[in-house]
């Protein structure tokens, strides 16, 4: 009986640090990146183009764009594409995502950012952040997974509870339900307005 208790305690101690390590790693990794972005946003001496390039450099380290492209198209459609189309789609999607992210930052440049401690969800880690201005709060949830090659990377972002991947996926489904990949490429290239 005593033995069992010791083994149990031992197990708890063995498992706990592994969880805590992930959390701490994501916490440090994301805070560094986001603080970097905030510093760039606050630096009014920078040219907007150079600033944006540097922001893209930072988010490229944190975001796994290729996986995001794949996930947003979904397995069903992705596996049907040939190699060129996969590359083309990824490229167009990533360009769009970057542009959209920069635009969102432009909207909220004077706000303070508040971080919450990351939480483990199954084998992934989620980190809640909030942009606060005046009485309003906009929540942004960064969802990370452990990629074997590059460590923890963001694969989805939830803005006010609305997942980026899910939103794109249902739109892609909508376009592909009545159109072809060519239609989708055209839409990705040329935003509606």
């Amino acid at each position: 009986m005593q033995k069992a208790v010791f083994i149990l305690i031992g197990l708890i101690f063995m498992v706990q640090p592994a969880f805590a390590d992930n959390i701490a790693e994501v916490d440090r990794f994301m805070k560094e990146r986001l603080d970097g972005i905030m510093r760039l946003l606050e630096d009014k001496t920078l040219q907007k183009t150079t600033r944006n390039e540097q922001i893209i450099d930072i988010i490229s380290e944190a975001f796994d764009f290729t996986t995001m492209a794949k996930l947003s198209l979904g397995k069903k459609h992705w596996t049907r594409l040939n190699k060129e189309d996969k590359t083309r789609f990824t490229q167009l999607f990533v360009e769009r995502l970057k542009a959209s992210y920069l635009e969102k930052l432009d909207l909220y440049d004077d706000e303070a950012i508040v971080y919450s401690k990351p939480v483990q969800v199954k084998n992934k880690v989620q980190m809640m952040t909030a942009l606060v201005s005046g009485g309003d709060k906009i929540t942004m949830l960064y969802k990370l997974y452990n990629s074997k090659k590059a460590g923890w990377r963001v694969y989805d972002l939830e803005l006010e509870g609305v997942s980026l991947i899910t939103t794109y996926r249902s739109q892609f489904n909508e376009v592909l339900a009545s159109g072809t990949m060519t239609d989708l490429f055209a839409k990705l290239e040329r935003p509606e307005k």
Binding site: K104, V162, A177, K193
Partner: protein, 312 residues
């Protein structure tokens, strides 16, 4: 076509009451149930007919089932590109087709048309008007006006917090109202947030209904107001009774007729919306650029966001 009607009927029935969160809410549940069900049914019997009549050709439901039927073919493809499959497996639980909530949308044809109308309204009227307004009134002033109205909407937030047994939040709301109405000069400033770190807890009747397990019903785009659903649209009615501007028409001003006062109330409410819009023009424009299909985008974002807000 009949399959489509059955599908929309089924999704309507999902507007059921879930397991009640608290036993003491039983009475309220039956009350809401009895009163609203008749109304739901009337609207539904009209809408399902309308929806089935307008959505012509192969519906989305059919095309989706077709794709599922073809699904076994995927295994062949997967064998050719094994590394791709591995990439998806890690996210299987989160992003499977089944994991993505589908929105009940029997009125999609009408909804699309109304989304287009609202978008045109934004471009032709709201956007130019609020740009002109912004040129005259500086951002600080517009923020003040927004806070002033927000403060007046305290009864709405208070009541819905209480209805959802969120007494602590209701108390915070009351404290905010008292501080901001006095020290905050009739609500033009927000010292409650700045000095005492008291945040507002926006709740509406749609959320209250959701809290007691009422499902969203079908998606419904309202003229001028934008995306909504059956539940939240019904929620607007009790909400209107808790908004002070509704009572503007009841205030007796000498020399004005009843219709004048209604116009004044509409004018004030329009001004409030214009002021709000002037502070968030770019947000809508940016969202619109993100969308591949504006209607689907706004619909899904709205429904998902409401789900999250109800859970909070």
């Amino acid at each position: 076509m009949t399959e489509y009607c059955v599908a929309s009927l089924r999704s309507f029935l999902e507007l059921r009451l879930y397991d009640d969160p608290k036993p003491c809410t039983d009475n309220i549940l039956t009350m809401i149930n009895r009163q609203t069900f008749v109304l739901f049914f009337v609207i539904f019997s009209f809408s399902s007919f309308f929806g089935c009549a307008t959505v012509g050709g192969p519906s989305q439901v059919e095309s989706q089932t077709l794709l599922f039927v073809q699904a076994p073919g995927d295994t062949l493809n997967d064998a050719q590109v094994p590394e791709e499959d591995e990439g998806f497996d890690a996210f299987e639980d989160e992003f499977t087709e089944a994991g993505i909530p589908t929105v009940s949308d029997p009125l999609s044809a009408y909804n699309r048309a109304m989304t287009k109308f609202n978008d045109k309204f934004f471009d032709m009227l709201l956007s130019p008007a609020s740009r002109g307004y912004s040129a005259v009134v500086p951002e600080g002033g517009r923020g003040g006006v927004r806070r002033f109205f927000k403060n007046l909407f305290y009864p709405l937030r208070f009541t819905n917090n209480v209805l959802q047994v969120k007494y602590e939040q209701a108390a915070v709301e009351t404290a905010r109202f008292l501080v901001n109405s006095t020290v905050g000069l009739l609500g033009f400033f927000d010292p409650a947030k700045e000095w005492f770190d008291l945040e507002a807890y926006p709740e509406d009747f749609g959320q209250t209904l959701g809290f007691y397990g009422v499902g969203p019903g079908f998606h419904l785009v309202l003229p001028f107001l934008g995306p909504s659903n059956l539940r939240d649209t019904i929620g607007l009615i009790p909400d209107a009774y808790m908004i002070p501007t509704t009572y503007l028409s009841a205030i007796q001003i000498s020399g004005t007729s009843e219709s004048d006062r209604v116009l004044i109330a509409i004018g004030v409410e329009s001004y409030r919306r214009l002021n709000d819009a002037s502070l968030s023009l770019e947000e809508y424009e940016s969202l619109r650029r993100d969308a591949l299909d504006l209607y689907t985008f706004l619909r899904d974002a709205y429904e998902r966001n409401r789900q999250v807000k109800i859970k909070e």
